[in-house]
Assembly symmetry: C2
Homo-oligomer: 218 residues x 2
């Protein structure tokens, strides 16, 4: 049974990385669809989101099954608990990528964002893609230096998010209400995407460093 | 040790209910602050959010400790897993209440929402408060009929959320960009708050009905 158990544990980690990679692809396509007004790419993000949802639900099932049947301890327990704690956030990152793609689709063939803000959104999009790639790398390597890099990226995204509001609320803003709504939502989505990545990364930090009670002490 | 264990399990459930009650108070105060432009109430929501965050983190610690030391099975395991799966969403509901309060504080002494949309936001706020109260009740009773009531409330909130955009994008909208931004964010917060409540409620459903592997089958 130990072999089955070790195989299941490896599967938990592999599935986490797999979902994270799908999220990375989703945000890459979503931001491209958003910035280039590419409706077929937007539709592919929207169609693919169900896969992320199903994988996240399946991961929860697997993790709960391991807890019920194998009663893991120490590092093994941490792996399983981490999966349970982060699966919903990964799913949510996929949802946000989908929301960004939906904005692109609604506005097609127009672009969602007026010219004055396109460079800002292009940068936010690139940073979201980078933060997603770093998250996959962190899950695969557990190298906590990556968390620090992610925090720096998140800080920059927060700055850009604030700058979007500065632009929209400034005297030079020429957008109509629909532009203002779209830009507000889009900026919020880009910012939240990175927040979720950071929140997952912090739980990986806990996985690596966690001060866990030893079995038998209860 | 069994007694300690049963006491810890009870504590997990009590703390879940406790956090849910604090979230209920937070959204009650936040929507009041938002609708009445009550800055001191807004500040109290903002100040109290750290307590929800700390309780959610503490609940995770408790749940992980039980998993490590007690290796619970069956229903006991489901309770602990549910706590781990919902604590982040409860914390997030508290954050959203804080965001609503922050909007009220930024705009004080003005109201955040122009007259034409005040009735809509008053209703959304009441529904968010009701959904939070129902969530507490569901956690306390595990009566799944409450989940159905919550879904109905969530549907109505979604309708109101759509109606806000209809108003903002309609010809009659007189708001400036700042009004449009605030209303967009506020509507999104009200809608997301209920979404989180539903997502937690679904996990309680799983707790009650979950088809879990029996121990020893691995």
């Amino acid at each position: 049974m130990r072999e089955v158990f070790q195989q299941e544990l490896r599967e938990v980690q592999e599935r986490l990385i797999e979902i994270s990679k799908l999220v990375e692809v989703a945000i890459q396509k979503a931001t491209k669809a958003f910035n280039d007004s590419d409706v077929s790419m937007a539709e592919s993000v929207i169609a693919d989101d169900a896969k992320i949802d199903a994988l996240a639900a399946g991961l929860d099932e697997l993790a709960i099954g391991i807890l019920a049947l194998q009663q893991p301890v120490a590092r093994d327990l941490r792996v399983v608990v981490t999966a349970l704690r982060v699966s919903a956030s990964l799913e949510r990152m996929g949802d946000i990528a989908e929301h960004i793609a939906q904005l692109a689709r609604y506005r097609y063939p127009d672009k969602v964002v007026k010219k004055v803000l396109r460079a800002t959104f292009a940068e936010m999009g690139e940073l979201d893609v980078t933060v997603a790639a770093k998250l996959t790398e962190l899950l695969a390597t557990e190298n906590l230096e990556i968390l620090e890099q992610m925090r720096d990226i998140d800080d920059r995204i927060d700055e850009l998010h604030v700058s979007v509001f500065d632009a929209v609320l400034g005297a030079a803003w020429q957008g109509e209400a629909v532009d203002t709504v779209d830009v507000t939502l889009a900026s919020r989505y880009h910012e939240r995407f990175a927040d979720h990545a950071i929140s997952i990364a912090k739980k990986v930090q806990y996985l690596v460093n966690g001060d866990w009670p030893a079995p038998g002490e209860g």
